[in-house]
Structure formats: structure tokens, C-alpha cells
């Protein structure tokens, strides 16, 4: 054999001992770990690409032009000049109530001018399902999308009432180039010509509309317009501006996916580390035998490398295939809020997935194989050896490669830093706690008796060996918990959109001067008004006299939200559902404001800071006098900024609130809509059902991702249990041979594993807390509060579960007779 070329020799060897490898349970687990890691990398890679593509598409559609000028009031194009542009159109969008033959429903009404659309084509359905291009609806006609038709119970040819105007449904709207993205905007859509808008009777200057100029032209022309608009303090949107809300949605989605994929990889890597050590240890005796028979060291290392490399390649390809096959499942889960167009497999993702598996083996298995080849055969045969790879080099190489991979996957240095730090903290804590437990058990066992004494002593003596499984389990708990917390936190933001109010209908957009007439309208029809809140639309322009865009961090979500108009409100005293955390309620004539506590925290505001608002042309300057919270969280109307009544009573006001309407509501709502065209009425149940559908889709997708994590965490536990079971088989057999009952042996193991499980889970929970806190604060711009009960319940539950798992695994060896157990070991 020695006469052959080493590579040929290694291939023959690999073939000879291949069948032995296939019988190893640990090796099968190793292959499964690599497959899961690879599948997750591929699945999330494909999904992130699909989502990004869908969002990019929606962003482009959302803008509908190379340059969009957006305002909450009509802007005269003469102010910025459109003479040098090649195309120009303007649109006005409102949320209004519409009444059809079947129902009343809130709809998104968009009026469009001649020249619309600037980018793409409007498509309507004609003659069945044929999509045909169209320009704009003719006078008195409206185009409705399918959801609007269903919501209003209308079909082509029917009439619908919007405000004071009646429209004939002329066609079904199939495609609208500058529609709002499906992910955010869920209202049914109605398109009319701009010439019909005055007939609806909406007040265009009350700041409730979305007015846009869609402009196309040369770069120079667009730049000139942009410069002109900048002086007018009007918002400009461009596809690459990155300021519109969809960029943030896109970023959040990709960050969450990146984080989940990093965490799954982390777990699979941990399981590989545990199993790799075990697998290589198992190679020791056959490797020593082969070397005694004259096989060269390098040929042996090469043979084992071939085998594990092949295993990694096959596993990763299977994983990548599984990841690609999972695409339709994710697409289905996200429907109808985001329509994914599934792309053909991207080779770079497959290469990345395969690279991941090779990296895991390169980091955790190959250095040990190399070290194994250096063990003298005699030492391996007598068992008096230890495999000591060059740990420092391996750890350094794995850290660098892993860090690069994480950065590639997450495309987010901050997230990588947070997770990397958390991993280092958790692993270090596991080592320290493992040492502490070992020392503690090693000292206290003397004060105990019987099986407990033996269990504690065993734990104390094996503290060094416990550190790896402890760190692995702690990582599994940390990743699983922190992802679950983030999932719950993200879903909570949707929960906060709920309005639980006494009435079953909510309204907004009631002009101040129509308030008395509105009260009378409701009273005449025996409708019970359950809440009425005065509001003033304003823009936050400065904090402590510094323009707010400069005063706030560019990445702050609050900064983005504060760009939109905010509703100011007022009251004589602290409202019933509010509570003052600090300071006093704004007094009349004091020029002060009470601010929501969370907003103050997000914006970094303190009591005594000054805020400047723009209400039309009026500048309103106020000093913060108190920090305010809400009783019952997001279950009522909430206002960020509240003043004393005299501060706002001279400014243009509108009201929002709720009323109760029993029985058949259609005719009443149609009359209300005609009498108050600006008032938008939303049925609470409709609103909640929309939120529920959205939550359900997001929840399903997140659950699927959590499922991947759970799978990886289970692999970690299985890996540690397999390694532990092998170690315990001999001990259990011997103890029983000298007279210990199975119950005693089982109790010893249960105590040992419960302590390890509890301590590991405790570290994991603390790690999850750190990760959730940092990720919530710095990645998602959300506040986070952990349920402290978790600190106790989860480790206890996990300790018990781990002990139970150990019980199940150990049962098999305890069912054997002591002689069989010893022989098997």
C-alpha cells in the first residue's frame, strides 16, 4: 500500500472505512446538523432575495416616477417649475368612506390628473380577465380594485357614493403603477379622475390628504426642481433616497432574517463542535490500528478528510436544495401582504450554503483530525492519549471566517457585533459557571451521602467536560429565547394598532366647525357618542431650537415618524387613561406641553426641553412640563403631545372619536358620509380583522423561522445527549455491577443533568435578555421590557426538560443488563 501515491492510498482507505462511518450515530447527527445549517442559509438567503425584490418592486411602484414631490396640502407646480420636465402628473389620495350597493367601507381614494401615470401603465380588466392598458377614468366614473368591489358589494355598472358624489363603477382596476405597497397599505382602492374630486366635497387644505407631483425629466431638470423644493420645506422622494417607510420595512425584514439565519448557524456550529470532537475521538482506535498496519499519517488524515468533506458536500447540497424547495412555503405564508415572485436558484446562495458547511467542518473537525494523526498508535490503542488540536489557531480562524460569514449574511456590522459579543459573553459565562459548579460540587459532596454524594462528586470532577455542553445549551437557549422575544415584540407593535373603544365605530377628520352639527346628527339618529378628542395637525420642526432632523439620530425611527404630521391635543387636566410619570400638567398660559414617555425616551428628550411645531404658517413653541404614560397600553386613543386648551384653541382643529351604532348601519353611514365628506368612519371589527389578517401572515412566517431555530436547538440537545450517553454507558454498567439499583443510577444522572440544564439555561436566559435589549434598542428602534418571571421559570423548566431528555436517552442503557452495558461500552 505504501508504494501507492498518498492521494490514491487515501482514496482507497476512505472507501474501505466508509461503511464504518455510516453506522455512527454521531456522524449521522453531524450530517443532519450540516444539512440544517445549509438549508437555513439557503432558505433564508432565497427568502431575503425574494422579499427584497418584492419590496424594491413595490417601492418603485409606490413612487411611480423618478422624482416625487409629496405634501399634505396642494402645492402649486409653478413654485418649483415643471417647464423643463418631460412628463408631469399630479395625484391626490385620501382615506374616505364609500357606500356601495352592499356595504359601507373605508377606501383609499385616489384622484389622478391627465398625464398619469408617469411610469408604467394602469391596467384594467376588460372582457373577462384580460388586462388592458388605460389612462384615467372618464368623468363620473371610478375604477375599483377587486377588494373594493368585494367590500362595497359592487360590480361593474353599479353606482357607489363617495362623500357628496356618486360614481359609476366603470371597470375593475387590475394594476396601479404607484400603488402603496401591499405590506403596509391594506385599504381597498378606488381611482377617479382629478376633475371629479371637487364634487366629492373634501376639504383639501385640512392636511389629511396626500398630494403628489410625479415628475420625469433630465437629471439636470430634476436636480433643479429638487433644489427649488428644498427651499419650500416640502418632501422629495426618489427611489434611492432611502427615506420612505418601505426602506425601513425592508431593512427590518432583512435584519430579522439575517439575525435568524445567524442564530441558526450559531446553533448548528455549536452542535458540530460537540459532535466533531466526539466523532474524532471515535476515530482514534481504528486510526491507530491502521497506522500499526503501516498506513501513513498523511494518508490517514487525507482519507478521513475525504470522507468528511464528501459528507459536508452532500449534506450542504441536500440542504441548499431543501432551502430552495422551502421558498413556495414562505411565499404562501406571506400572502396576501407581500406577493413574492419566486426566482430561479441563485448559484451564489448555493455556494454560500456549501461554504458554510465546509467552514463548520474546517473549524471544528479538521483540526482535530490533524491532531489525531499525531497521536502515537500505541497510545491510541491503550487509550492513554488526548487529542489536542491547536485551539488558538482554530478559534482565531473560525472567528475570522465566522465573522466574515455573519457579516455577509446579516450585511449589518452592528447586528454582527451584538450577536458576536453575546456569544462570547455566554460562552465565557458558561466556562466560569461550569468551573464554579464543579468547585462547589467538589467541595460540598463531602457533606452528603449515598447516590447524591457520588452524583455531586462526579459533577465536580467532570466540570471541565461540562463546560462545552453547557456553553452549547446556553447558546441554544439564548438564540431561541431572544428570537422568540423579538418575534413577540415585533408582533406587539401590530397589537398596539388596536383601538379598543367603547363604540363600535371610530371616526376622524371631523372639522372643528362641524363638531356641533355632527353631535346633532348623531343625536337625531339616537347614535351614542362615546368619545370626542380635539386635535390639531402639526409638524415637529425643532428641538431646543435645533431643526429636528439634525437634533435626532439619522437612523432613528422616531425621526422618520416625526417627518409626518403629528396630532396635537389638549385637555384641562390629565386624561383618565393617562398617568403622569414626572412633572405637572400644562397650565393655562404657560406655553408648556406634556409628552408621551416613550417618545421622550426615543427622542432623548428631558423635561424643560423646548419643542417647536409648525401648524400651517403658525409656529408653536412649548416647553416640556411632564412625562406621561398610558394606562392600559395601546388600548385607547393616544397623543404624543398634549397642551392646555388655550394653547391650541385658536388653531384649526379637527376631531376624532367613536360612537356606537347598532343594527343595520348602511343607510346611516351613507347619510353621514354625504353630510360630512371629510369624516372617515371605520368599523372597529373591519379594522381589527385587517390587523388580525396581517398579524396572522407575519406570525406564520416568523413561526416558520422559529421552527428552524427549534430544529437547530434540538440538534444541539441531541448532540450533547448522544455524547453524554456514550460517556455514561460504562459508568452506569459498572455502578450496577457493584450493586447500585437502576433507580440510584437514574437519580444520580437526573441530579447531574438538571443542575447542568438549569445553569446553562440561566446563562442562556441572561444572554437572551442582553441580545433582545440591544437588538430592540439599536436594530429595531423599539423599547423592550423582559418578563422577569422568565429568569426563574425558564431555567427551571429547561433544567427539568434536560433531565427528562437525559432520562429518556439513558433508559436504553439501563434496560440492558450490567454485563451487556459494560460490554457495549
Amino acid at each position: 500500500m505504501n508504494s501507492r501515491h498518498p492521494i490514491m492510498q487515501s482514496l482507497i482507505l476512505a472507501k474501505c472505512i466508509g461503511s464504518r462511518l455510516a453506522r455512527q450515530r454521531a456522524l449521522v447527527l453531524l450530517a443532519v446538523c450540516v444539512t440544517i445549517g445549509s438549508a437555513t442559509t439557503a432558505a433564508l438567503g432565497f427568502l431575503a432575495e425574494d422579499i427584497q425584490r418584492a419590496l424594491d418592486r413595490d417601492i418603485a411602484h409606490f413612487l411611480g416616477a423618478p422624482l416625487v414631490i409629496q405634501s399634505d396640502h396642494p402645492v402649486d407646480p409653478a413654485l418649483f417649475g415643471t417647464h423643463s420636465t418631460t412628463a408631469h402628473a399630479h395625484t391626490a389620495s385620501f382615506t374616505v368612506g364609500a357606500t356601495g350597493p352592499g356595504h359601507y367601507h373605508s377606501v383609499a381614494l385616489k384622484a389622478v390628473s391627465e398625464g398619469y401615470p408617469v411610469v408604467g401603465q394602469v391596467l384594467i380588466l376588460a372582457g373577462g380577465n384580460n388586462r388592458v392598458p388605460a389612462t384615467i377614468p372618464e368623468r363620473g366614473a371610478a375604477w375599483l380594485d377587486r377588494r373594493a368591489m368585494d367590500s362595497l358589494g359592487a360590480e361593474t355598472g353599479d353606482f357607489i357614493q363617495i362623500g357628496r358624489a356618486s360614481f359609476r363603477v366603470a371597470a375593475e382596476l387590475a394594476f396601479e403603477p404607484d400603488r402603496l405597497t401591499q405590506l403596509q397599505h391594506t385599504l381597498p382602492r378606488v381611482l377617479i379622475g382629478m376633475q371629479d374630486l371637487p364634487a366629492v366635497g373634501l376639504d383639501l387644505d385640512n392636511g389629511r390628504g396626500d398630494f403628489r407631483h410625479l415628475i420625469a425629466g433630465s437629471d439636470a431638470a430634476l436636480a433643479a426642481i429638487e433644489a427649488a423644493v428644498a427651499e419650500l420645506d416640502i418632501e422629495v422622494l426618489k427611489p434611492n433616497s432611502g427615506q420612505h417607510p418601505f426602506s425601513r420595512i425592508s431593512q427590518r425584514v432583512s435584519r430579522f432574517l439575517g439575525m435568524v439565519s445567524v442564530m441558526v448557524l450559531l446553533l448548528c456550529g455549536s452542535a458540530c463542535a460537540v459532535l466533531g470532537r466526539f466523532v474524532v475521538q471515535r476515530y482514534a482506535t481504528p486510526a491507530a490500528l491502521l497506522r500499526c498496519m503501516g498506513v501513513g499519517r498523511h494518508a490517514l488524515t487525507l482519507a478521513l478528510t475525504w470522507q468528511l468533506g464528501l459528507l459536508a458536500l452532500v449534506s450542504s447540497l441536500v440542504g441548499a436544495l431543501a432551502g430552495w424547495a422551502a421558498q413556495p412555503v414562505f411565499a404562501r405564508l406571506l400572502e396576501p401582504h407581500l406577493t413574492l415572485e419566486l426566482a430561479p436558484p441563485d448559484l451564489s446562495i448555493v455556494v454560500l450554503a456549501a461554504g458554510f458547511s465546509l467552514l463548520m467542518l474546517a473549524a471544528f473537525v479538521f483540526p482535530r483530525l490533524h491532531a489525531l494523526a499525531k497521536v502515537p498508535p500505541a497510545a491510541a490503542l491503550t487509550g492513554s492519549f488526548a487529542i489536542r488540536p491547536r485551539i488558538a489557531g482554530t478559534v482565531l480562524a473560525a472567528t475570522i471566517c465566522g465573522g466574515l460569514l455573519l457579516w455577509l449574511l446579516s450585511d449589518n456590522a452592528q447586528l454582527t457585533g451584538i450577536l458576536g459579543s453575546a456569544v462570547i459573553i455566554v460562552v465565557t459565562a458558561a466556562w466560569i459557571l461550569g468551573w464554579l459548579i464543579g468547585t462547589l460540587a467538589g467541595q460540598t459532596y463531602r457533606f452528603t451521602h449515598g447516590w447524591l454524594r457520588i452524583a455531586l462528586r462526579s459533577l465536580g470532577r467532570s466540570a471541565g467536560r461540562q463546560a462545552v455542553p453547557m456553553a452549547t445549551i446556553a447558546l441554544a437557549v439564548m438564540t431561541f429565547l431572544s428570537t422568540t422575544m423579538l418575534r413577540d415584540g415585533l408582533l406587539d407593535t401590530y397589537h398596539e394598532q388596536r383601538f379598543v373603544h367603547d363604540g363600535n365605530y371610530l371616526f376622524n377628520g371631523l372639522p372643528g366647525d362641524a363638531m356641533q352639527r355632527f353631535r346633532e346628527f348623531l343625536a337625531d339618529r339616537d347614535l351614542d357618542l362615546r368619545g370626542l378628542y380635539p386635535t390639531v395637525r402639526a409638524r415637529l420642526t425643532a428641538i431646543n431650537d435645533i431643526p429636528f432632523e439634525e437634533a435626532l439620530d439619522r437612523e432613528s425611527d422616531t425621526r422618520e415618524e416625526a417627518r409626518s404630521p403629528v396630532r396635537l391635543s389638549y385637555a384641562d387636566a390629565t386624561p383618565a387613561n393617562n398617568t403622569l410619570h414626572e412633572g405637572h400638567w400644562p397650565a393655562s398660559g404657560s406655553g408648556s406641553v406634556s409628552v408621551d414617555a416613550e417618545v421622550m425616551s426615543d427622542m432623548g428628550l428631558e423635561i424643560g426641553d423646548t419643542l417647536t411645531f409648525a401648524v400651517g404658517d403658525v409656529q408653536l413653541r412649548a416647553t416640556i412640563s411632564s412625562r406621561r404614560g398610558y394606562i392600559g397600553g395601546g388600548s385607547s386613543f393616544m397623543f404624543w403631545f398634549m397642551f392646555a386648551p388655550d394653547a391650541l384653541e385658536d388653531l384649526p382643529q379637527e376631531y376624532l372619536g367613536g360612537f356606537h351604532l347598532a343594527g343595520d348601519s348602511r343607510s346611516t353611514l351613507a347619510t353621514l358620509s354625504a353630510a360630512f365628506p371629510n369624516v372617515v368612519v371605520t368599523e372597529l371589527e373591519q379594522h381589527l380583522s385587517r390587523v388580525r389578517v396581517m398579524m396572522s401572515a407575519i406570525s406564520r412566517t416568523m413561526n416558520a423561522l422559529i421552527g428552524l431555530l427549534l430544529l437547530a436547538a434540538t440538534m444541539v440537545l441531541a448532540a450533547t445527549a448522544v455524547v453524554a450517553a456514550d460517556d455514561k454507558r460504562r459508568t452506569g454498567g459498572l455502578l450496577r455491577a457493584i450493586g447500585a439499583s437502576t433507580g440510584q443510577v437514574r437519580r444520580m444522572w437526573l441530579v447531574e443533568r438538571a443542575m447542568v440544564g438549569f445553569a446553562s439555561a440561566l446563562i442562556g436566559v441572561l444572554g437572551a435578555h442582553v441580545v433582545a435589549e440591544l437588538v430592540f434598542r439599536y436594530q429595531f428602534g423599539m423599547s423592550y421590557a423582559m418578563d422577569w418571571l422568565n429568569y426563574m421559570i425558564i431555567p427551571l423548566a429547561f433544567g427539568s426538560a434536560f433531565a427528562l431528555l437525559e432520562h429518556i436517552f439513558s433508559n436504553r442503557s439501563l434496560r440492558r443488563t450490567p454485563l451487556q452495558a459494560l460490554q457495549h461500552a
Binding site: 462528586r457 447500585a740 439499583s741 437502576t742 443488563t817 454485563l819
Partner: protein, 222 residues
């Protein structure tokens, strides 16, 4: 004459193999009186260790009865057999089977601690001293030679003061000089404690020091 401490009647054991059932033991009968030493010899693979496992209650026969200290093992549960082993028997394995994480003293004290005997450490040191290992009490198995490890295993077996000792080729892994010293220790302790002993060996000189020698041939004792 007092009642035998160990009685085996019609013991049979077979194993399933790819070519069908392989009968290792067929109708084995044996009686061991208190204080008596019995050697079982035979060719490699004839089933000596299997028979010893059955006699000590470490394995279950497919047919036949083992009566140890007046109790029929086949009628006892696994835990009852374990209790009986802890009170009446000691076992010395060919591969020593010491626990790596425990010192020599702790290995010997292990069964004493497990069954709540008084002063386990003191007794462990006593037995190790008796076997010439006083200076090695705090050493771990990996720090001991093969002969020393086997003497620790012997001390562990005698620590519970068994009525009967089972020894499975205790000298197989030792060199000639060490093996001879080990055998001297074994017989000296057996005589001094008055324990019966069943010894499996293929060393004729060791077997000849026992009161009775049986050869296992074709699954039967002769």
C-alpha cells in the same frame, strides 16, 4: 457441611447471530460452598465470562436457575439482584473498570458510599494499605500501572466484605511477575476473609491454586 453459597442448575445461554442462534452454555451445573475457591478454565470464546456474568447476576440465563446466598436470581427483579450483589458479592473485571474521575481511594470507597456504610474513606484506605497501595490512595487510575489498577479493583471488590467473589481473568492484562503478585494477593484475601471465589482463567498455574477446577467444554462444565 454448610449450605452452598452458590448453586447453578441447568444454565443455558445463547446469542443471536447472522447465521442463527449460537448456544454458548448448555445445561451448566455448579455448586460452590462458603470459603471454597472454584476455577473455570476453557478455550478462548468458550463462554467462561458469560457464565461468570450469569452466576453473579449480571446477565440473565435463557434457561436454568442460579441460587446465590439462598435466593433464586431468576425470581428477583433487576434492582433486587443489584441489592443482593451489593450485600453478598464482589466482582473483579479483566479490564479493571475503574472510574477515571475518581482517585484510587474514592474508587474503593464508591460501593461503601453508595450503600451508606460507615467510615467509607477509612475502610478504603485500610484495604488499599493491605494491598500495598497506601502511597497511591490519592492517585487517579491514569497515574497507576496495570497491576496497581487491578489491585485497586480487588480492594473495591473486598471492601464490601462479600460472601463470594467473582473474578474474570484478573491477570490477563498483566505481565507474568505482576500477575503472580496479583494472584498471591487474591488468594491471601480470599482465605483471610473466608469468602468463596469463582475464578475464570486460562492460566493453569492460577487455576491449580483453587480448591476445584472445572473446564468449560462445549457449553458444559466438566
Amino acid at each position: 457441611m454448610s449450605a452452598p453459597v452458590l448453586i447453578a442448575r441447568g444454565l443455558a445461554r445463547q446469542f443471536d447471530t447472522v447465521t442463527g442462534a449460537l448456544a454458548i452454555l448448555k445445561d451448566v451445573n455448579l455448586e460452590v460452598a462458603p470459603g471454597e475457591s472454584v476455577a473455570i478454565v476453557g478455550a478462548s470464546g468458550c463462554g467462561k465470562s458469560t457464565l461468570l456474568g450469569l452466576l453473579a447476576g449480571l446477565d440473565n440465563p435463557q434457561a436454568g436457575v442460579v441460587e446465590l446466598a439462598g435466593q433464586k436470581l431468576t425470581l428477583l427483579s433487576e434492582d433486587d439482584r443489584a441489592t443482593l450483589r451489593s450485600r453478598r458479592t464482589g466482582f473483579v473485571f479483566q479490564a479493571f473498570h475503574l472510574l477515571d474521575d475518581l482517585t484510587a481511594e474514592e474508587n474503593v470507597a464508591l460501593p461503601l458510599e453508595l450503600f451508606g456504610r460507615a467510615r467509607p474513606q477509612e475502610k478504603a484506605v485500610h484495604w488499599l494499605t493491605r494491598l500495598g497501595l497506601k502511597q497511591r490512595c490519592r492517585h487517579f487510575p491514569r497515574q497507576l500501572s496495570g497491576g496497581e489498577q487491578q489491585r485497586v479493583a480487588l480492594a473495591r471488590a473486598f471492601a464490601l466484605e462479600p460472601e463470594i467473589l467473582f473474578a474474570d481473568e484478573p491477570t490477563a492484562n498483566l505481565d507474568r511477575a505482576t500477575a503472580a503478585a496479583m494472584v498471591d494477593c487474591l488468594f491471601e484475601l480470599q482465605k483471610s476473609t473466608g469468602a468463596a471465589m469463582v475464578l475464570v482463567t486460562h492460566d493453569e498455574s492460577v487455576a491449580s491454586r483453587c480448591d476445584h477446577v472445572y473446564e468449560l467444554v462445549d457449553g458444559r462444565l466438566q
